[in-house]
């Protein structure tokens, strides 16, 4: 609980001081697992004052963390590792079900609701320099949605 509060405090202070040329990570969360389930996903919103990209992520809870994209092709769900997620300056990029996520694989223990998962997110800027942002992602129930019920899209 203390971790959640401190991470909220950190996010809040970042929002309050956007002059820092730092990537802002908000609403980071991880879907809980059931016992023996070996993988899950992390979701969040990212924004950066300058062009950058998310190139990798890591977590102390597992050695295998990958950046993935989900796509539907002809009613077939495909999930692929992507080399990077582009973050154009000033634009909020959402990692959410139906798009990008950070995948935590080969889990050794259950990820339980109420806990947090530390994540280190590595961003590579245009000039080649790297920045690491650490967040404590809140663990939400298996049946958590990114947002309350969305209106269906105009896909027909």
């Amino acid at each position: 609980m203390r971790l959640i509060i401190s991470s909220l405090a950190i996010s809040a202070s970042l929002l309050a001081t956007p002059l820092h040329a730092q990537v802002i990570v908000t609403d980071a969360w991880v879907r809980a697992t059931v016992p023996q389930q070996k993988a899950t996903g992390a979701f969040m919103q990212l924004s950066s004052p300058k062009d950058t990209k998310l190139v990798s992520a890591s977590s102390p809870i597992t050695p295998i963390v990958e950046v993935h994209e989900m796509a539907m092709q002809d009613n077939v769900m495909k999930m692929r590792e992507v080399p990077a997620i582009e973050l154009p300056a000033g634009k909020t990029v959402e990692l959410k079900p139906g798009g990008y996520h950070v995948m935590l694989l080969d889990l050794k223990q259950q990820v339980k609701v109420g806990g947090t998962v530390p994540l280190a997110l590595v961003f590579e800027h245009k000039d080649g320099t790297r920045e690491t942002r650490e967040v404590a992602a809140e663990v939400r129930a298996l049946n958590a949605t990114a947002k309350p019920a969305e209106h269906r899209g105009h896909t027909h």
Binding site: Q37, K38, M70, N75, V76, L105, N143, R152
Partner: protein, 199 residues
Amino acid sequence: MTTERRSFLRSAAAALATWAIAGCGKAKPASYHGIDITGASYGRDFRLQDGEGRERTLADFRGKAVMLFFGFTQCPDVCPTALIRAAAIKQLLGEDGDRLQVIFVTVDPERDTPEVLKAYANAFDPSFLGLYGDPERTAETAREFRVFYKKVPTGASYTMDHSAFSYVFDPAGRLRLVLRHDQSAEDYAADLRLILHSA
């Protein structure tokens, strides 16, 4: 066609008309949101294992509408979304929700076990069933249901590409509809209501 069924179709037509006026799309003739595949020569039955090690077939669910889809528990995105929607559909159905059986079949028998599938399905609704078949049975079932699945390496592990549509069986155990992943809980619930009241 019974009067009851006709009145349901009429209310569905009215709903669709309202929906069209609301500017969400063009009007369709009163029918299902899903594709009607009544009489299909495939998807006749399955023989899979539940979390208690019992063998389950469609005959176990007579009197209920069955919504069946395929996935795997290591799937962070489409599978939870489909199960969350299934729970929403059950809610939308109100009392009829008790006559809906949701079944989640794994396409990843190497990693999923009957126990994990049971815990996983139950995390979304205690009535949901997760079913397991060994690799051979999984392949047979997928063939019977024309479901595509494929193991794809990713970094240090692998993921499964798989068909993300849902099948609906009527309370007599006949395959009736197929719905897409991008259809709403409301679409699914409307179709299931028709299926439950027209059988």
